[in-house]
Amino acid sequence: MSLLNQTGSVILMNIRSIPQRLWMSLATVVSIALVVAVLLGFLALANGFSQTLKGSGSSDVAIVLRDGSQSEINSTLTREQIVLLGQGPGVRAAADGGPLVSAELLLIVDGIKRSTGTKANMPLRGIGPNGLVVRQQVRLKEGRMFAPGSNEIVVGAGLLREFSGFEMGKTVRFGAQTWRVVGVFEAPGTVFESELWADAPVVQSLFNRGSSFQTARVALTSPAQLDAYTAYVGSDPRLQLQAQSEQTYFAAQAERSGLLIRYIGWPLGVIMSIGALAGALNTMYASVSARATEIATLRVIGFSGFSAFMGTMCEALVLSTVGALLGTAVCGLLFNGLSASTLGAGFTQVAFRLQMGPELVLQAIVLALVIGFVGGVLPGIRAARQRPLLAL
């Protein structure tokens, strides 16, 4: 009981005396807040990007690419292969009675980013009538769908946020051709929102693609049909293609790209942490030094070295916790939900929103507490070893 009393009392004394070292303590809080804000920013970036990619895929839609292709951009499919894909097991029927298969092209075109005013790659997707049907999450927000056979495009809402010149009714030029924007669609939290869509035959014609496609989306009657369908695609020698669920395809892409961002975020966070740790150590050593007589007096009176250690340690943890909360608040206010875009697997911009989430906040707070703990240990030991006779 007495150990609890004396430790609690020393902790309170340490914390209540923080205003006496206000500026130095504030510097520590701010440096830790910066570490947390930067790390959380990167983690939110990775998380938002991953969530967008993962949210794009359905488990009952198979995406079919050329065997060995990692992404849609470097895949090729012939018209004959598309026909064969529609004959596989478990394929859902379209409204016209035929198989629900969407043969698509994906090309890279240029656009001007609003944030920088510079050119960046955008995906232009050529789709047919089934393109919308296999994407249940997409809905027209404004205007109408493009008319078949025309130079019309519809624009994803995410792309519209990030790129200028694609507002409703505007005319844009890709290569030698001009296109008119006739609609805006939204598919919240998916990669499709970062795309331009046009009629597939028009895209084939104007971009000299002949009758080839790059990818096919095949709607299945249920996710359970996927194994049978994958086996079908893999075993037919005329196909030489690979099928996987759309969900699996995007999850793999999310993993690759998300890891890349995390590999930048964490080392940067750790490097900044070392700087913050130096600040924390400095502050805590200064705290012990400023309170040397008080600590020695308490030791003379009979307070234990442990209580002196805990007082210093808890002060460091309190400062780091305040820093963590401040950094989280700053990141939440400035970055959470912020629209951003980055290169996706197809070398095109993917628009997404930064997402913090409790798990990420916890990771950043743990890092801040580690800084506080390490920053408190050595000064705490110095406090515990403070010789009582100093007070005399």
């Binding site: 009981m1 007495s2 009393n5 004396q6 009392s9 004394m13 209540r16 005396s17 006496q20 007589t293 008080e294 007096t297 308490l298 030791r299 003379v300 009176i301 009979g302 307070f303 234990s304 070295g305 010789r387 009582p388 006779l389 007070a391 005399l392």
Partner: protein
């Protein structure tokens, strides 16, 4: 009066660089229970070192230190800390109060080392503050008190856990004559009325007159005793 503190053949030296400086070489001292002893001597004579040894805040190199029949020279750091908390009250020249605590909270500090309930601690704090006539200043922080009042709070802190021994290091060194005399009268009262054994290091002969006897220390040895 019976022997309360006994130092037998105590040796103490400090190392400064490669040089060893002897402070005490076979020092002997007996202080009976209930005594009020002033220790005087020039700077470097070993007064503060003696106080540190008596208070268990420093260790001797050899010899014996017994306190009320209990040998303490072999105690570990932790044992000495616990022993100090039970038996010794300290009064410092510059009061050494915690600036962020009120007078009552400062006085309560030694009681936090006991198993007393919060209510009992509060009662004891009030009693100690009444003894030093500062009950009405219980909620004041040190910076709101005069030097003399701060020293009286320090005295209340020293006596609140009812220790047998009070060690005072220049308790009036920072005070004017009139306030110093008040403080010394309070110490005298504690000695006479409550039977506290008091050992006081001082440079001030006027302060020493309040003690029952004065030991003069020079070069690590007692050279004179005046009563």
């Amino acid at each position: 009066m019976t022997d309360f503190i006994r130092l037998t053949d105590v040796c103490k030296s400090y190392t400064r660089g490669k040089e060893s400086i002897s402070i005490f070489d076979r020092l002997n001292l007996v202080i009976p229970k209930g005594d009020f002893v002033a220790i005087m001597g020039p700077s470097g004579s070993g007064k503060t070192t003696l106080l540190n040894l008596l208070g268990g805040t420093d260790r001797c190199d050899s010899g014996q230190i017994s306190f009320d029949g209990e040998r303490i020279e072999g105690y570990s750091e932790g044992q000495l800390t616990a022993w100090r908390a039970r038996n010794v009250g300290f009064i410092f020249q510059f009061y050494n109060l915690m600036p962020i605590l009120t007078a009552a909270q400062n006085v309560e500090l030694p009681l936090l080392l006991t198993s007393l309930s919060a209510q009992r601690r509060k009662e004891n704090v009030l009693t100690a503050l009444k003894i030093v006539e500062l009950a009405d200043r219980a909620r004041h922080k040190p910076k709101e008190l005069s030097g003399g009042q701060q020293q009286r709070v320090a005295i209340a802190r020293a006596i609140v856990s009812d220790p047998k021994l009070l060690l005072c290091d220049e308790p009036t060194g920072d005070l004017d004559r009139s306030t110093a005399n008040d403080i010394l009268s309070t110490l005298q009262l504690l000695n006479r009325e409550l039977g506290k054994t008091i050992i006081m290091v001082t440079h001030d002969p006027e302060a020493a007159r309040f003690a029952t006897r004065t030991l003069h220390l020079d070069k690590g040895q007692f050279v004179e005793v005046t009563t």
